[in-house]
Amino acid sequence: MIKLFSSFILIIAAAFSACAGDPVHSAPGDIKLPAGFKAIVVADKLGNARHIVVNSNGDVYVKLERLKDGKGIIRLRDTNGDGVADEKFGFGNFGGTGIAIKNGYLYASSDDQVYRYKFNDKNEIENPDKPEIIITGLVNKRQHSSKSIALDNNGFIYVNIGAPSNACQETDRTAGSKGQMPCPILETAGGIWQFRADKLNQSYAEGVRYATGLRNVVGLDWNTSVNELFVMQHGRDQLSQLYPDNYSNEQNAEVPAEEFFIVKKGMDFGWPYCYYDPIQKKKLLAPEYGGDGKTEGLCGTKEKPLYAFPAHWAPNALLFYTGNQFAAKYKNGAFIAFHGSWNRAPLEQAGFNVVFLPMKEGKPSGDYEIFADDFVGGKENLSPSKSKHRPCGLAMGTDGSMYISDDQGGTVWKIIYTGEK
């Protein structure tokens, strides 16, 4: 009787979770996805697979943060249409994060330069050993050094230049050290720079500081439905560690938000002077600049987020879904790959997942939902190095499939929809 009762409970629970539309496993050991979606492992153990892009012929290009076997870009080719890569080809002698395809070129970034490779008429890289240098001499001081890229339809390329700092203190990440006023880092970093996509050897003098006050952006995408740039900012770290009198560890685990922005020319998002408190729903003055967790100060005039995501989850990729394979609700909405937190410690880590934010006309039209989950590969989540996978890149295939990359296990998944629409 007890057995019968418990199986009944199990069935009810299963039915309920299916109805609620929560992600489920399509096979044991897989990542979790909503019902009707399936994940195919395109390749694994690739190394630190950062951003990815899919060419019109279905080839997947993966940018590696560190060279593997001397190569920094891996091309994955599926020759029999089962989604799994049968051919791997490595090239490029630089590690980095950014990768994109536009107007017959593959663009890829190291931590201080942006290169491009020309495709020939057979969709092969014409000269894999001799890329052109498009942008050079960008700030690379190790911290927040990855240069993510996005291209618009008017011949421009946008490059994130992350601030090599947490909050522009005189001495970085040091208790008691004041914030520099004005912050000199903002002259060459802490923002998005715009360059020509087809001009060689550009540096700061040829570029435009398109927007400022962004601490570090890894995920960014050009939204073709409204023709604007959108970014996900990595919010500041260590409020409770540096200012234990004003912030508890529990507060630090929830503040500040990871902010989602539309980026227009000339905008200022407030770093390092301000951060966004998602509980008070306000931009507040940073403690390095005299803030106490309540004071707004000069932050009232800074751009506010379109949407505030949980603190410290580390958004590493942003993709606007323009395909037709997934259900209509996904069209022009935002997928965001979260790398997963470290700054929630000593509290449990969180946010190793891919979320979906519905959007209409360039504005969020509802709350986010977790789309892909279970990258950690276990229940306990005490430290990011123990996670099996860490989502880092997103791309869409021409057939409307979505690809997810992982810079911990080196896996690339192809996500397809097999259910009813």
């Binding site: 911290q143 927040h144 990440r173 470290w342 005490l382 430290s383 990011p384 810079d407 911990q408």
Partner: protein, 140 residues
């Protein structure tokens, strides 16, 4: 005379024990580990994580690395002066700076280094107050 001999023996004996007793027994490792954990949980835990595993390519791990298990002067120097250089640690590079912790007392430094060198699977020698004092004096 008898009393004198007995006390001489006692004094000698006490001296003998003090001189030849291994330092290990004088140093209360357990107490140092407990004090060291308190320092670690307050200052180090966020970047280096509760299990000392760090954050991939950002904050270095403390588990069986050549730095953690290596010479004590370097460890004291990293704590007191901070560290922000591109170095390879067990085959990987790490991007974030290690902030200096000059506010720590010699005792706290000895305790936290002892904790790190004997936790997370590490089995290196402990660090004494006298060692930290001597190393730190040379740093200034």
């Amino acid at each position: 005379m008898k009393i004198f001999a007995a006390s001489a023996l006692l004094i000698c004996g006490a001296y003998f024990i003090q001189a030849f007793m291994p330092a290990q027994q004088q140093y209360d490792v357990k107490a140092a580990m407990a004090r060291g954990k308190k320092v670690y949980d307050k200052i180090c835990i966020v970047c280096h994580q509760p299990d000392g595993s760090g954050v991939p390519r950002m904050n270095p791990p403390l588990i069986k690395t050549k730095v953690t298990l290596g010479p004590k002067p370097k460890l004291v120097q990293i704590l007191v002066k901070g560290f922000n250089e591109e170095v390879e640690i067990n085959g990987e590079y790490y991007s974030n700076p290690m902030p200096a912790q000059p506010q720590l007392t010699n005792q706290e430094i000895a305790d936290v280094l002892t904790y790190v060198r004997r936790s997370f699977g590490n089995k290196a020698s402990y660090v004494t107050l006298a060692e930290v004092k001597a190393i730190r004096a040379k740093l200034k």
